[in-house]
């Protein structure tokens, strides 16, 4: 009797095992994604995942809108610490070091088994890969990537006696044009500013455009040493401060990021610096003819990249990892990436996407979309270090102190460097 009982238990256990092994073919994936721009971004992601699920019935993808970039990394890391991370997620490219330090993600290299897969890993624009690799391994796949560009109001240019089709090419020209474009009323109050480089929240990003143009890099590739106190960084910051203080072509104090497109539509600012992710927004809402240009040059042309990458999380089964890899390969393929770029304005991360018929039609009718791609040639990696959020907060605080005039650029940057050094020295 006891023997029989044992036998049945063993048998049923074996049956149970067999059934789980059978259902292992059906893989469940949870996918967190953020939305950082207005419009159709969330719908497009949902539509793309549905399309993938329809073509691959053995994979079930649960696409979860997780809020802003900040919300998404907070939710993902909290879930990872609780032992139930999503299998894949789109998170800021610059959070790569934080995710590595939390031991939450795995490199893609181990998942790329075939030669085709390995070739795929190297098919993205190098400017985007700069923020996606460290120590020779690829941790992120570019997807929701952007770069800042200059938008200008052609009507305001015409009114100021400037050529409406020529944006400023250098810092000097931007100041010179800005002076012509800044208008005051009879009381001496400014009604239209020449230029607007927003500085609220994360001023470091657009400021990195200025430092790159001044030919200086803010942090090393290993992410453990910053270069904030370089005289060239101080020069760039002085230029930013001078735009309001000396040249009086930009609104003084901290300039709000969020209301920048609105200020452009309202004619409050004739030239704005903002992300290419706002392209569709500006196209839909600007009541005048506008142009899109690369950021002006100083010692060289330059801009940071920005935006989010795909990451695969460690705490998943091998089947889930393989399925995640396959999904990411699919969604970044030319056809899908083209749909995504057209819906949002994000820069398609691979050259072959721009060769698809859909993209060719799109840029033929809207050549402004090409500016961001062409700027990639001059783009550098966005500032990313270990303890990234803390280091960028230190840097942002220094920038804000200089912009509001509480510290001189050199002093503010020297203090920031010392603080960053105290944190990063443990990582060398």
């Amino acid at each position: 009797m006891t023997f029989l009982k044992t036998m049945t238990t063993t048998l049923s256990a074996a049956a149970l095992l067999a059934s789980t092994a059978g259902s292992a073919l059906a893989v469940d994936l949870q996918f967190f994604f953020p939305v950082a721009v207005g419009g159709k971004a969330a719908d497009t992601i949902q539509a793309l995942t549905d399309e993938y699920a329809a073509a691959n019935p053995d994979v079930k993808i649960d696409a979860v809108y997780a809020g802003s970039y900040q919300d998404t990394i907070t939710k993902t890391l909290t879930a990872a610490k609780g032992g139930t991370p999503p299998q894949l997620s789109v998170i800021l490219a610059v959070d790569m070091f934080s995710l590595i330090e939390e031991d939450a993600i795995i490199p893609f290299d181990g998942l790329a088994k075939t030669d085709e897969d390995k070739a795929w890993l190297t098919s993205f624009y190098p400017a985007f890969m700069a923020n996606s690799m460290t120590g020779g391994k690829t941790y992120g796949i570019p997807f929701q990537r952007s770069t800042p560009v200059l938008y200008w109001n052609k009507e305001a240019f015409k009114d100021a006696g400037l050529d409406p089709n020529t944006p400023p090419a250098t810092w000097e020209e931007m100041v010179e044009f800005g002076k012509k474009l800044t208008k005051t009323d009879s009381n001496g109050n400014v009604t239209q500013w020449g230029v607007r480089i927003p500085s609220s929240g994360f001023p470091y990003w657009l400021f990195q455009g200025l430092t790159t143009q001044n030919d200086v890099i803010l942090a090393n590739d290993a992410g453990n040493k910053t270069n904030f106190d370089d005289p060239k960084v101080a020069e760039a910051l002085q230029f930013l401060v001078d735009l309001s203080v000396k040249h009086k072509v930009m609104q003084p104090g901290i300039v709000e990021w969020g209301s920048t497109p609105k200020a452009f539509f309202e004619g409050q600012a004739a030239m704005i610096w903002t992300t290419t992710g706002n392209l569709t927004n500006v196209r839909d809402n600007a009541p005048f003819d506008f142009g899109v240009a690369m950021l002006p040059a100083n010692k060289r042309r330059g801009a940071p990249t920005g935006g989010g990458n795909f990451y695969i999380f460690k705490d998943s089964t091998d089947e889930q990892k393989a399925a995640s890899f396959d999904f990411i390969k699919w969604i970044t393929a030319p056809e899908q990436a083209a749909k995504w770029t057209i819906a949002t304005g994000y820069v398609a991360p691979r050259a072959d996407t721009w060769e698809t018929p859909a993209m060719k039609d799109y840029v033929a009718g809207f050549p402004q979309a090409l500016v961001a791609r062409d700027q990639l040639e001059y783009a550098v990696a966005e500032l990313a270090t270990y303890q990234n959020q803390r280091i960028t907060t230190i840097f942002n605080d220094a920038l804000e102190a200089a912009i509001t005039g509480t510290k001189t650029p050199a002093d503010a940057l020297k203090e920031a460097q010392a603080q960053a050094e105290a944190i990063l020295k443990d990582y060398r």
Binding site: T78, N189, V255, E256
Partner: protein
């Protein structure tokens, strides 16, 4: 035997409250204090006991001190102003006034709005150039002011929002208290020939003391607890000029992922609030007359 059964009953009746209090208040508070003596665990480095190192770091942290004084200033200004305004508004709408319920509604409206919505409304007021305040002052010929982008004005601008939101809420309590004061007292005072000011100072205000205590404790809690508008309006900027203690704790915990240091900051907030609450009960209780 019956004695013991009563004990069991007592514990059974208490247990739901005890379980909730321990699970959500006492155990987290104690583990926060415990965590503040350890380093932050990272995926590749486990946490280790560091003694008072986090507290030393706290004393040396310029940002902490700035945020600490910001919070104190924020409390010192917003609490008395919102309570005084609430009292004034309550007396105003308690009187005979045409359109009284409309005025009451108008004063109370900010309270029912979520703080995030309020912050977005005020963002529109404050926006330089085309915001409401600038449109009005621009029409009168005044220059544009960057309310949230100037470190000297940012904290003040945040305070205005919270006073605007809080005063209406406290007004409701004062209004209820005012209506419970028997009219006989006013008639008696009128017969005695007391002026309106004397009546307010000697009769109304003392009778409102229990409400004042309640309202002021709430105001203290809210002034440290409500930071949603900081997220929307300034994110603590420029250069931490408008950052408050709770906002800094959130930043440290969920942006920098430095959970040990966040625990240390939380202990400071805990101690600060306990001291204030204790002081309020001890000092004010003596002056409060319950009927």
């Amino acid at each position: 035997m019956t004695h013991r059964r009563e004990w069991i009953y007592a514990w059974l009746l208490l247990s739901p409250a005890l379980v909730l209090l321990f699970a959500f208040t006492h155990i987290p508070a104690i583990s926060t204090i415990w965590d503040s003596f350890f380093s932050t665990p990272r995926g590749i480095r486990p946490s280790k006991f560091v003694g008072l190192e986090n507290y030393e770091k706290l004393l040396m942290d310029d940002t902490f001190w700035q945020v600490f004084w910001n919070s104190i200033w924020y409390a010192v200004v917003t609490i008395p102003v919102s309570v005084a305004l609430a009292l004034l508004m309550a007396i105003w709408v308690d009187g005979k006034l045409s359109g009284r319920s409309f005025v009451r509604l108008a004063y109370f409206a900010p309270t029912v709005l979520p703080l995030i919505a309020v912050a977005n409304i005020w963002m529109f007021f404050y926006t330089p150039g085309f915001g409401l305040i600038d449109q009005i002052s621009g029409a009168l010929g005044y220059p544009s002011v960057n309310w949230l982008g100037n470190p000297e004005l940012a904290l003040g601008s945040i305070m205005v929002v919270s006073i605007w939101k809080e005063a209406g809420f406290f007004m409701i309590f004062y209004l209820a208290a005012l209506q419970s004061i028997p009219p006989v007292l006013r008639e008696a005072a009128a017969i005695e020939g007391a002026s309106r000011w004397t009546f307010f100072r000697r009769v109304t205000f003392p009778l409102l003391m229990p409400t004042t205590l309640f309202v002021s404790i709430n105001a203290v809690i809210n002034s440290f607890r409500m930071v949603d508008h900081v997220f929307v309006m300034t994110e603590g900027g420029p250069n931490n000029a408008s950052s408050l203690l709770l906002f800094y704790i959130y930043e440290t915990a969920f942006k920098f992922w430095d959970t040990a240091y966040a625990s240390t900051l939380t202990v400071v907030l805990l101690v600060l609030l306990s001291v204030i609450a204790l002081g309020q009960f001890l000092l004010l209780d003596k002056r409060v007359h319950y009927r």
